[in-house]
Symmetry: C2
Subunit: 450 residues, 2 copies
């Protein structure tokens, strides 16, 4: 063994979840999965490592930093999301029955600079429907996001909905080169952060060199049209109606308009509270692969913390792996961001942790076999029970452990109790003590622990 | 997007779990965690990426291949187990209350050559007790392994128990240089695979060069003593008694003898079936960090598939991160190997998958809003319900989907039903059909789906 001491720490952008937080995370995930399963979704698991070309799509412009793996002689990389591996699975196993509805919980890694609230490794809980091109599938995705928030007991949230199809019509409506659409959308997506003034300035900024569209350099006329588009606010019905007037004459906008109308109609049917969703034309989503409706979910009290559940339709992604047409839509809960946002809002305090219910103190080492047996029978009765295994010999020290861990009931058993066949029960909160016969112990504790 | 088609496949040593298998894995994990929690364990989460020196301990002889991560400018690597990160956590957060009992589910990666039944990425479900140096903690670990097997409904397994302390006495008992102990143990560990003859031959093999102990080159006398040691077979009580005779005079063996006696005494108290565990002096475990009792669990019908739950005491590991003495013991279920072994034995067939209970067919697109509403009320009643979202327009096609997916109940609702306020229920197994009023639907389906 190397003799040098190693500093106990983590690289930036990664974190530990200590037991209380990890237990709350587990609870959150279980609630979410329960909703997914009620909609007929089943789990899928793919490995964290993939061939690099699977992830990048051999795209020379691929602009997300990914972790690469060295030393293996293969070009492998760690997944940056769960959507691309899903597309790979759909291509690899054509026998999967469609519509295919799966959820997946998994860690993803991004080789980007760590920032506040941004991790380089984080867990996502995705759910997707593969096969249907119907807007009803997108409506179901939004419905699930809503039901999850309800299951978590959260009311103050907003699902912002848009469609890429209406955004794809922007160049024709505002009169600019469609090649500039992606940088234009990237700028519009920042509306919340840089404000309308910032958006206008960025849209006008001149390209640094010919053919470089990061700065799109739009004309005043185009910018005016985009500003008009972005200023369509109000409730979803109003936005659709005004947008209809604005884009009625643009043939490229018709599909997008139909899509927004369909979303509106069917979301009403789901019974989703209309305060919890709205059409928001500034939502674009960064990833290139979206082709239809896109969604973002924010907590209205903490909009600055960003979206906790995002997604959209990605009809073209599977075709990366061959001549396969497979429409798809889905979304993903960012579990780490969810924890941060719920923590900031005090929601996590309400989640109780499944710790031990009973501590069997271990004050007489000669009775160790008895302690093991008492704990075993309590566990057989389904009670979360631990025998004190630590270094404190005194009852006082062992009660201190129960106290620090928040274990509500403590059993005390020494030679007196052993000879009388009884055990002392101490209730930590009240300090009350009673004597219980060993024969009744499981039955009595079952009642106490209910 | 790159135009070249990408082959949909995985690097060797990695695999996908398609929904049915992923659902069964989820079920297995839930059963195991339920047992851990009954013993008072709480979850912990650490990231999959650590500083490389955290994992290797700056050990120049570190002989496990690990995945390294390139392109980050930092020396990062992916964890190869969950024990070393646990040791880091214990050093990093001294405020954690001891005894500290945590479980962790996580993916680990090993950069080794993939072999049959060996993966380069796999999931482990660890549980460890940090703080106590008492043999009672080791007994509890074995007790948990036993309870997990019971919870999974498996009876034909054997927990093989030994202690490193008795193995550490081997050089003094058999008269060889203690520097050769690790290669000697590595050879003994192969007893199951290469037989006693193979072990003898390997122990005698001459070193290739001075100071190279991979071939220990033991004398005939030493080999005879080791053979005598290894041939102590029979039930645990007999082995302990014969070993006592054999090593009574070796001072270095006394602690190990005491440990085996303690394990025997307290395991009897747990009520564990004596057929399900035994002392086996050939068990050594590969990893350097074990210091006391070690455990391996095999299914007696598939011993060749190896251990599904292994572990042991690792009292020195935390001190890698500073002057911290923290005794520790624990074990780990290898979830992927467990799946493979249970699959090979037919156990997985007994686990039922939580798929949809009800399919709402979607045969009249004009009634889509009704389909959404019917499904919503069934889900509110807790029933796993999906609306058919696919491309099949005909009832026949949609029934085919229910059939392939094994969805037991199908609801049929067209314009006739809409006007009468009723819905047709088809039970797929019998083909039977009945008419149910919409008002009673949730109540009736709740009874059917119980």
């Amino acid at each position: 063994m190397g003799a040098k001491t190693i500093k106990a720490g983590l690289p930036s952008g990664f974190r530990d979840l200590l037991p209380e937080m990890a237990a709350k995370k587990r609870w959150l995930i279980e609630q979410i999965i329960y909703v997914y399963e009620r909609f007929g979704f089943l789990p899928l698991e793919t490995p964290i490592v993939e061939f690099e070309e699977t992830l990048t799509g051999n795209n020379p412009d691929f602009n997300m930093n990914i972790f690469q793996i060295a030393g293996s002689g293969e070009k492998l990389a760690m997944r940056f999301d769960l959507t691309v591996p899903l597309a790979r699975v759909m291509a690899q196993y054509p026998e999967l029955i469609k519509p295919f509805k799966r959820y997946q919980l998994g860690t993803v890694l991004r080789g980007e600079k760590a920032q506040r609230g941004r991790y380089r490794g984080f867990d996502q809980l995705d759910f997707d429907i593969l096969g249907p091109d119907s807007i009803l599938a997108d409506v179901e995705i939004i419905n699930i996001i809503y039901d999850v928030m309800m299951a978590l007991g959260i009311n103050d949230f907003l699902i912002r909905v848009n469609t890429r199809k209406i955004l794809n019509a922007l160049p024709f409506y505002a009169g600019f080169n469609p090649d500039k659409l992606v940088p234009v959308l990237r700028i519009m997506d920042k509306l919340d952060k840089i404000g309308l003034g910032g958006v206008i300035q960025a849209l006008k900024a001149k390209p640094e060199f010919e053919g470089h569209f990061e700065n799109p350099g739009l004309s005043q006329e185009s910018v005016d049209k985009i500003v008009e588009f972005l200023s369509l606010q109000g409730d979803s019905e109003e936005i659709i109606s005004e947008l209809d007037t604005l884009m009625r004459e643009i043939p490229e906008a018709q599909e997008g308009l139909e899509e927004l109308k369909g979303l509106y109609k069917f979301l009403k049917a789901t019974g989703i509270n209309p305060n919890n969703w709205k059409i928001d034309l500034s939502v674009a989503r960064g990833l290139d692969y979206y082709t239809g409706p896109v969604f973002e979910t924010m907590l209205t009290k903490k909009p600055e913390l960003g979206s906790i559940c995002s997604g959209g339709r990605f009809d073209g992604l599977v075709s990366r792996f061959g001549n396969i047409e497979l429409p798809a839509t889905g979304a993903s809960f960012g579990i780490d961001r969810l924890i941060d946002v719920l923590g900031a809002l005090g929601y996590l305090d309400k989640i109780s942790v499944i710790g031990s219910q009973i501590l069997v103190t271990s004050i007489d080492k000669n009775l160790s076999a008895d302690y093991i047996q008492i704990a075993s029978s309590l566990r057989e009765g389904g009670l979360r029970t631990e025998v004190y295994l630590g270094k404190e010999d005194s009852l006082r020290g062992q009660l201190g452990y129960a106290n620090k861990k928040g274990i509500p009931f403590v059993l005390i058993y020494g030679s007196d109790e052993a000879s009388s066949g009884r055990v002392k029960l101490k209730e930590m909160q009240t300090g009350e003590q009673k004597s219980i016969s060993l024969t009744n112990l499981v039955a009595v504790m079952t009642i106490y622990c209910q």
